[in-house]
Amino acid sequence: MNRINLLFIAIFSSLIACAQQIESSVKAKDATSVTYTVEDVVTELNIPWGMVFLPEGGMLITEKSGEIIHFKDGVKTEIQGVPEVYVRGQGGLLDLELHPDYKNNGWIYFTFASSKGKGDGGFTAIMRAKLDGASLAQNELLYKGGPNTKKGQHFGGRIEFDNDGYLYFSIGDRGNRDENPQDITRDGGKIYRLHADGRIPVDNPFVGKTGAKSAVYSYGHRNPQGLVKHYKTGEIWEHEHGPKGGDEINIIQKGKNFGWPVISYGVNYDGTSLTDKTSNSGMEQPFFYWVPSIAPSGMTFVTSDIYPDWKGNLLVGSLKFKYIERLVIEGNKVVKREIILKDLGRVRNVRQGPDGYIYAAIEGEGIVKIIPNK
């Protein structure tokens, strides 16, 4: 064997040992100047997973540990009647959303890890309820995934409504990537679609397929913690955590397979390869992917006139880098990524309030409001 051959073998085996990754096409940069100040709105929260703004003023906030907090005029009140939450690993009380016609019907939707049903462990569930004073009432369990598992990962849990009133929510792969995400007869690794009252729409993509979970709308997801309706197209945009690298933004489409874990731009946590494929026929490419990972949680489009320079941009919270990313989108591409709200803490959630301001929920801190300089 000659030297060149040996060299090839050496290079080749080093490739196998430490998988190569293709970095994101656009890199995040610091803003050239800071054009806003940050104001505390709610202080002393631990993991504020979900938040909604009530039309009568004030907000509801979920703490992962299992509490729903009502906040108004500086006063926090713990809401009673919250179902039992399975707090383990990444699981707990998760997102919160209001029905689009909340003003008239009062329905509040929330996701949580639940140990209800057969077997040890838990799985993501979604419930709706109404507020009766400082208590939940008329609790209705709309869906619960299974089978329960003691795994601590990937509960997903974001909730969003579309323009037709359909309810979407995510469940992550529950730490079982080899069985759940690619199998439509199993829960986990999916985006689900329901009617607002929990019925399964008859035109859901897998209705009538033998053994299929008919609430499933799209599959092949890892751990989606971002779900938001596009302000113009009405499409549901999703983001999900990759392993090491390979976080994604996807535009959800009916019945489509988003590829996890067959295709991914990420590698295993220890740096070894998990798949050699980044594309495959019958599997969707992400709209955008992050290498390295930012650990995305929560997202919103900026639509208000309060931030003229940010209008139409997508804001995404980063747990890992403790900032918000402002993604400028032109056509069907991310053309710029800017870092805002640097170093305040792990950003769990970001939303535009009904007053047009951007609010961010920060772990270990609370909820802040971004106020542009005049």
């Binding site: 631990n46 993991i47 992962k64 540990s65 399975y86 707090v87 383990r88 690993g89 699981g91 795994k151 601590g152 990962q153 730490g175 946590y269 220890d270 740096g271 403790k322 772990e363 270990g364």
Partner: protein, 133 residues
């Protein structure tokens, strides 16, 4: 007879040491699975942590010197300023929802990995005794 008795005693001692050892090995093995499931995303595959954000567990002076405090952190969470290997951390680790035997297993794993050494095995009973306050 004396010799037989003596060698019997030696053998028994060896065996009890051996069974203690296999117990520890089994606990560490279960602990490594819990680590991969519950801790790796913050403390990283080799316990190296992320400087300034997630403290290291590998050769962590905090972990080595504060056995009970570490068990308490895993049972009830940990918040506020701590110093690990000379670096300040002021973060928050939420309670992870592990059962007492799982806390013992993961403690046995992290106190015996990446250059850490712990002579006294941590048992479920020891974990059970650690109170919140």
């Amino acid at each position: 007879m004396k010799i037989i008795l003596a060698s019997y005693i030696v053998l028994m001692m060896g065996m009890s040491g051996f069974s203690q050892n296999t117990k520890l090995e089994e606990s560490k093995k279960r602990g490594s699975e819990i680590y991969a499931d519950f801790c790796i995303n913050c403390h990283m595959p080799n316990g190296e942590g992320v400087k300034g954000e997630f403290p290291p567990l590998a050769k962590s002076d905090f972990l080595i010197k504060n056995r009970t405090k570490s068990i308490k952190a895993l049972k009830y969470g940990l918040k506020g300023e701590i110093i690990v290997n000379g670096v300040k951390y002021n973060g928050f680790m939420a309670p992870l929802g592990l059962s007492e035997d799982e806390v013992a297993d993961v403690m046995n794993y992290i106190t015996n990995s990446w250059g850490n050494k712990n002579k006294k095995m941590i048992t479920e009973q020891e974990v059970a005794k650690v109170a919140k306050k």
